[in-house]
């Protein structure tokens, strides 16, 4: 097929990294506080080590491969 239907998701689990969000969302953190996304693309921390939680700040890259989400 030359004009295929693409497999596209609004919420994407990035192997070893964050949860990628497309569009507007409200994310509730572990303490029950709500956080509104501020742009069309957001990344939610999955490794639990981000200093900008609930958002990803790239800290997962400092973890050994077997400790990454």
């Amino acid at each position: 097929m030359t004009a295929p239907e693409f497999d596209h998701a609004d919420i994407e689990i990035c192997p070893g990294g964050p949860l990628l969000l497309r569009g507007d969302h409200v994310v509730r953190d572990a303490e029950g506080r709500s956080h509104q996304t501020t742009g069309p693309l957001s990344a939610v921390c999955r490794c639990g080590k981000s200093a900008a939680a609930p958002w990803c700040d790239g800290t997962h890259k400092l973890l050994p491969a077997d400790k990454r989400p």
């Binding site: 693409f6 990035c14 990294g17 964050p18 990628l20 497309r22 742009g39 693309l41 400092l62």
Partner: protein, 316 residues
Amino acid sequence: MMLPKPRGAFSSEVFEALRSDPARLIASGLPEAESPDDRAITLWALYELHFRGFEDVPEDLEWHPAALQLRSDLESDLEARLRSRWVAGAPEGDFAEAFFAFVADHDGPSLARFVQTEATEEQVLDLLRMRSIYHLKEADPSAWAVPRLDTAPKAGLVELLYDEYGAGDPNRLHHHLFARGLEEIGLRSEYGAYVDDVPAEVLEQNNAMALFGLHRRLRGAAMGHLAAFEATSSMPSRRMVAGLERLGLDATMIGYYSEHVTADAAHEQVAVRAICGALLDREPALWDDVFFGAFTCMDLEDRVADHLLGRWQEPA
């Protein structure tokens, strides 16, 4: 913006020709470039004709055959030098995994680490002047690749650019945020204001992005460069925030860098997976060029860092 100051006989002749007599741009009539600075500022100015131009250069010179020929000669030299530095070659395996590992394994000097722990306010201002050459047109060279990509990588690139360009709100456009940060910190925010102050390494960093962006055949390198840029931004931006806070600098510039901590954590995923990954699904032959672009991004940043750290750490 006016043409920058020439840095030798070659750029001097070229700039004079751009102002008054483009027929004199024929390479055979020009003197040899005196230095890397002389060559880099000339190419930077020729590229600038495709961005915002100069008040003292007629607009139609953007597509003047002699200017294009001269640009092409300088580009061949630049590309050959960039490729000659890339000796390690591209890794194999799953693309996203291989790409993130390739970036993580690259070991270079870190300006952000220096800013975090020991830079003086004057050194930080010096760095911001250097950064202003690119940050005041942040993402622009990547935008040239849009019409050259197939459906899926094009959608990914535009998604990323939409965020870089403020998602429709000019106040949130990244290069505008940087301009406001510069003003609040007491620096000039006009486009290209500090070009006369930057070393050849910074000019070359900018020239490489224009080279990749302007040539369809280098679309793989353009996207690899973009992905490496995004993938080396979050953590250094966090260090920049810490350094600016340590020095008590203005909150607007701190906001610019803190925005990049979280924005680029999302952008790196999009750039690696939705842009480069999708590009390579469609055009696997571009694999090596994607890594060449990524390497060049990191290598040129190392050279800027070596230059600045060397200058700052010279005994007084």
